[in-house]
């Protein structure tokens, strides 16, 4: 299968690989996928007091398209508010990376990871306010 140049670029030079402290109340962690399905994404965001995403990090087990999808969304997330981040759609990820139909699920997984990370952050905030 031939990969697009953008997938290859993100795969060979992944952006924002790493880990944030998952116990930090300003950090939201989303882990989606399953090893048995061949892909697992862990996406983390750190949100500032102003509600803007300051940092985003990922680690992904999966094919080149899965790694590229998660690398791309870490770039997109930085500087966005949570509400803006919530609107990122898998179709935009797939279009940006020119994913073939058989790899669309990678972009779906990346969207799920964003939603899971935001949900985790909001749950932590709710818990700490209570």
């Amino acid at each position: 299968m031939a990969y697009s140049d953008k997938v290859i670029d993100h795969y060979e030079n992944p952006r924002n690989v790493g880990v944030l402290d998952k116990d930090d109340t300003h950090v939201g962690t989303g882990m989606v996928g399953a090893p048995a399905c061949g892909d697992v994404m862990r996406l983390q965001i750190r949100v500032g007091e102003d509600g803007v995403i300051e940092d985003a990090r990922f680690k992904t087990y999966g094919c080149g398209s899965a790694i590229a999808s998660s690398s791309l969304v870490t770039e997109w997330l930085k500087g966005k508010t949570l509400d803006q981040a919530q609107t990122i759609k898998n179709s935009a990820i797939a279009e940006e990376l020119a994913l073939p139909p058989v790899k669309i699920h990678c972009s779906v997984l990346a969207e799920d990871a964003i939603k899971a990370a935001i949900a985790d952050y909001r749950q932590k905030q709710g818990a700490s306010e209570a």
Binding site: V17, G33, P35, A36, G38, R42, T60, Y61
Partner: protein, 405 residues
């Protein structure tokens, strides 16, 4: 672009230069282009002679009588002819067949077709871990109405070797036919059909440095095996398989098998050294496992799971090396290898597998290059892998509740 290092010899092999030279002699007006079935002129006679020489060469590699060799288009057709041909001929004796879950699709899909026609098929589970199909498994599955057992000599994905001699003694004593798919074993293992109780054996040329599009089926004469033809036409190949014989392909297969007979043993010894060198290098990595028995395996195969690294991304990282994840026939799908699943591997270990198959043109320098690149790639991908993090933290991945998708 620099050519990739080819380590996918179980998918196909290049044609040996000596084979290509013989083939080109059978194409043009100046060459041996006649129809081997033409009886009325010298063009036909010359072509027939070349075909019969090749038949002799194929028979010699496996110690059979040339009259037991039927030309086909390849191992897929040979498997179809053997299995359907025997089932259709002997159905009044019984309608039960035995095969295994790790056979090639050419056997499995043929068996599925026979099931649709009312036959019953038992699919043996290989021994967990090793992937071996044993005589005891076959014996336990035999029934009074069993007519045919079909097993591969060497598995295409994990390179494991089936003890066809012992299984042949068993099937012969029960008057059950034994068909063996030997697509992956010619030139790699000695085959002695005069002294092995195999009734039908499938061959192809393109995994033994011959051309694609040509194969053969061994059909035993004594005790005689009958088959119902699957392709009808001019009654070529004593009615077993009609169609004008492709002289250049056949001559190529003959030459390839001649070379295999003369040079195969030395070649296998050389490949064993290279294979061991490859494994010695790869096994320096943590959490790397060979799939299938290492001792009952051909020299040219190393199927490895790199735990916590996904196979497709690893292949992408090894961009100057041509390897496969699972077999070429199924790698278009995202499903993990059914062969590795049948061995009892978890989905994630099956997803993490790479098949390295080495052959005639593989050098020590190739192997050293592959080791270096694979180590770098695996380490890099593990740095990216959340599963590797969790493993390092001592988390049992089986204890995690994953959201399957």
């Amino acid at each position: 672009m620099k050519r990739q290092i080819y380590l996918d010899y179980s998918a196909t092999t290049p044609v040996d230069e000596r084979v290509a030279a013989r083939m080109t002699e059978c194409l043009t007006f100046d060459g041996n282009f006649g129809n081997p079935a033409s009886r009325s002129h010298s063009y036909g006679w010359m072509a027939e002679e070349a075909v019969e020489t090749a038949r002799q060469q194929v028979a010699e590699l496996v110690n059979a009588d040339p009259r037991e060799i039927v030309w086909t288009s390849g191992a897929t057709e040979s498997n179809n002819l053997a299995i359907k041909g025997a089932a259709h001929f002997y159905h009044s004796k019984g309608k039960h067949l035995i095969t295994s879950k790790i056979e090639h699709k050419a056997v499995l899909d043929t068996c599925r077709q026979l099931e649709r026609e009312g036959f019953e098929v038992t699919y043996l589970d290989p021994e967990p871990g090793t992937g071996m199909i044993t005589p005891a498994m076959v014996e336990a599955a035999l029934r009074p109405d069993t007519i045919l057992v079909s097993l591969m000599h060497v598995n295409n994905e994990i390179g494991t070797i089936t003890d066809i001699a012992a299984i042949g003694e068993l099937t012969r004593s029960r008057k059950v036919l034994l068909h063996v798919d030997a697509a992956q074993s010619t030139g790699k293992l000695p085959i002695d059909l005069a002294n092995t109780q195999v009734d039908l054996m499938s061959f192809c040329a393109h995994k033994t440095y011959g051309p694609k599009g040509i194969g053969a089926l061994f059909v035993r004469r004594n005790p005689r095996v009958r088959l119902e033809a699957q392709i009808h036409g001019g009654g070529h190949e004593r009615g077993f398989r009609s169609g004008t014989l492709a002289t250049h392909q056949i001559v190529g297969m003959g030459e390839a098998f001649r070379i295999a007979r003369e040079e195969g043993a030395a070649e296998q010894a050389r490949l064993m050294v290279l294979r061991d060198r490859l494994w010695a290098g790869l096994s320096k990595l943590d959490q790397v496992f060979v799939n299938g028995s290492i001792e009952h395996r051909i020299a040219g195969n190393l199927n490895v799971s790199f735990n916590f690294v996904e196979g497709e991304s690893l292949i992408m990282a090894l961009k100057d090396i041509a390897v496969s994840s699972g077999s070429a026939c199924t790698s278009a799908s995202l499903e993990p290898s059914y062969v590795l699943r049948a061995l009892g591997l978890s989905d994630e270990m099956a997803h993490s597998s790479i098949r390295f198959t080495i052959g005639r043109y593989t050098t020590e320098a190739d192997i050293d290059h592959v080791i270096g690149h694979a180590q770098d790639a695996v380490n890099r991908l593990r740095e990216l892998s959340p599963l590797w993090d969790m493993f390092q933290e001592g988390i049992d991945l089986n204890s995690v509740e994953w959201a399957a998708h």
